[in-house]
Symmetry: C2
């Protein structure tokens, strides 16, 4: 016997019900509108790229995860982030772009990871970056946390913390300890701090061959806590003699001092010297954002400053700073925790119900008038009894219905029923429009 | 020597500049908002599906075009339309969906065709469908042209024609001529009418073995022209004795008579008996839409009624009606013809320019206030001379700049300059907000 074809989506691919999709889209729209409010222009690059473009920089884990295939003569891969396509785009359109170039992109990216709980193979990344030629002012680094703040407020959160660090501090500190050659290993170990705890990280560093006194010194650095000003003072009082270190502290100071002017309350950001953002890609300011009440979700918005966007494709130096929101994962976590609640399963504001087939024509006229006034409207067609239509409105959570029978037609007053309360009133078409317009 | 990595997108993949993307997104948003206005709920299915799902129905040309590959144990394909994933979705979520189910989906689909001028391998399809269980009222068929009408008006078009036909008319007519077994060939030939002309189609039909008198009869049918009422009369006066034919004429009559109530002017739709929509998938009403001034673009919005959405995945009978707008192709054609014009390369409404670094703090405060009032704002950072910042605003087509120097700071009146006219005025922050708010 032929096996039935499975109809569930493949593992790692999120697929929502309409009531869920509506909430997802609301979040998507808030992020998009926020990015535009800060002057970022939209871009949309292809999901498919030449493999040589995507693999120019990727390696190891990333490369294994890529969906790669051939079609005809083409060696093709699916994008696994928006940064690599952006780098290609900037080089390709270098002569047409106006710098500093601010762009946002919000689309699906693909990673063929082994399916794990909460890991997605297809997910939305919502990115902004601003890039310039040769140098990019530090002001842009300060602006980024104000964008994060604006978005998470608009998404309805009160208690979240934007954690800021500067890679130069750590790199310079390692340099002063003659540990620069071990920097990648150390970064990686430090990145595990929150997950595995201090003793495991110490062990990892010992295994990497670090002497105890240097591990001590590292922990002295990353255990600096306090207010922004206290931490900046503590950093200065380490008296670390390294130019990179000093530049990093200075940059961190400038960035954090600007946030007040940019309207970010001090309770919504802090310096966190343990943030390394594993990728060697970042070279200066780095960001992570956590929801205070749900730290287990991890960072919901991360990014940082990089010295050179497109070194694989051009000799031009294109520094930038950017962040990314993994919307699929964020939605999934918040929804499963019950923090996000669904409401209606339709954008429909009103269902027009003809009491019998005789009233269909007038119902269409009324529906058309409502739509012309931007009121989302459906009409009940067919031999549906009004009762069945009311049940439909109820199930979909449509807030209003308009009932049109012979009485309504002759008086040109239509019955508006508010579904939540059951209240009814007789209204002319103009009154109906005024009532239902948002 | 190592070849440089190509940075252009692959052939058949559209990639836009920001000023183009902004216009594309405006069109996208109009379509989305329109679909929601008519009560359609959003869905978003994965780009990747099990190959057995996508290939259950596909065959021939479609199958050759599919991007298909394996990853681990999975045989995966990229969706080539939204209908097949929708069918799978409806079966999977059958118990959770409220019928009649109205959904829209707007996303990229993939066809690895040979690249030809104006053919895309990645393109946006913007679809709506309404499906019900066992039967779907004909009222939904009438509603579809009113949605098409609404959208193309909102997109800025005056002169376009929604062509409507009913497959039952043609099928019934063929049946009355004992030609049902040749229906697919005949359909296909008729579909070529506009491209290749009558004599070629006659030849094609002769080659398919049709006797001359039956070809005559076919052309008698498809050459019926006139107003909607004239054509319906002509169809009736053919006296074709076939139930399917009669049902088709009756349905076409009901659908077209409703359009007046739905606000579709008679100059924007007509009956066109030559529309077959090649796919055997459609079973009743079919639609095509052409822009009167640009017939060479072909149909910009097509669709129709189908008896059974998901016969590959379920025994349940799920009839529906839907349409699709190929936005990538539509944008491409209109843009290349110069019908679509680009404007600004940024959503930014105002650029705040500190006259010197001393004025950066106040500039950030002003920018933050503007953003809090939904005014899209950028700040000029760094040692940019105001002149350079003005040039930036000019190139990006940002309509306003706010200049902030020491005088402005001390008087708390900021200089607003309208870029188009050069007009300047001194305004308080409140006045600035009122002036720039939309």
């Amino acid at each position: 016997m032929k096996q039935p074809i499975p109809t569930n989506p493949m593992s790692g691919f999120m697929e929502l019900l309409p009531q869920e999709q509506i909430v997802f889209n609301q979040m998507f729209d808030i992020i998009r509108k926020s990015y535009e409010l800060f002057g970022f222009a939209p871009l949309d690059t292809p999901v498919l790229e030449r493999s040589e473009v995507l693999l120019a920089k990727a390696g190891g884990e990333t490369e294994k995860q890529i969906y790669r295939f051939t079609k005809g003569d083409n060696d093709i891969s699916m994008r696994f982030d928006h940064t690599v396509p952006f780098a290609r785009y900037v080089v390709e359109n270098y002569g047409k772009i106006i710098f500093p170039f601010r762009r946002y992109v919000m689309g699906k990216v693909y990673r063929g990871e082994r399916p794990q709980a909460g890991r997605f193979r297809e997910f939305y990344q919502c990115d902004i970056d601003v890039v310039d030629i040769d140098t990019l002012d530090l002001g842009f680094d300060a602006e980024i946390p104000s964008i994060i703040y604006y978005i998470f407020k608009k998404l309805g959160f009160e208690h979240f913390t934007i954690k800021i660090n500067n890679r130069k501090i750590f790199n310079g500190f390692l340099n002063s300890l003659n540990l620069s050659d071990k920097a990648p290993n150390i970064m990686q170990a430090i990145d595990h701090l929150e997950k595995t705890g201090e003793s495991n990280v110490r062990k990892e560093l010992e295994d990497a061959g670090l002497p105890i006194n240097k591990i001590e010194a590292l922990f002295q650095l990353i255990s600096i806590k306090g207010t922004v000003n206290e931490m900046l003072n503590s950093l200065q009082s380490l008296n670390t003699e390294d130019d990179q270190f000093k530049t990093g502290v200075n940059e961190l100071s400038i960035v954090t001092q600007q946030l007040n002017n940019l309207g970010v309350p001090s309770e919504n950001f802090k310096i966190d010297l343990s943030i390394a953002r594993g990728l060697d890609y970042y070279t200066g300011t780095v960001y992570e954002t956590t929801l205070d009440e749900y730290p287990e979700i991890g960072s919901v918005c991360s990014g940082g400053r990089y010295d050179n966007l497109a070194s694989n494709y051009t000799d031009k130096r294109i520094p930038g700073v950017g962040i990314s929101i993994g919307l699929t994962r964020l939605f999934d976590r918040l929804y499963k925790k019950g923090i996000i609640k669904t409401k209606s399963a339709t954008p429909t504001r009103v269902l027009v119900i003809p009491m019998s087939n005789n009233n269909t024509q007038t119902s269409l006229v009324v529906a058309t008038k409502l739509r012309e006034n931007d009121v989302s409207t459906q009409v009940s067609f067919g031999d549906n009894k009004p009762k069945k239509s009311l049940a439909y409105a109820n199930k979909l959570d449509i807030p209003f219905v308009v009932l049109i029978g012979d009485d309504e037609e002759s008086q040109k007053k239509y019955t508006l029923k508010k579904m939540l309360t059951g209240d009814q009133e007789q209204l002319s078409i103009e009154e109906l429009i005024n009532k239902l317009k948002i």
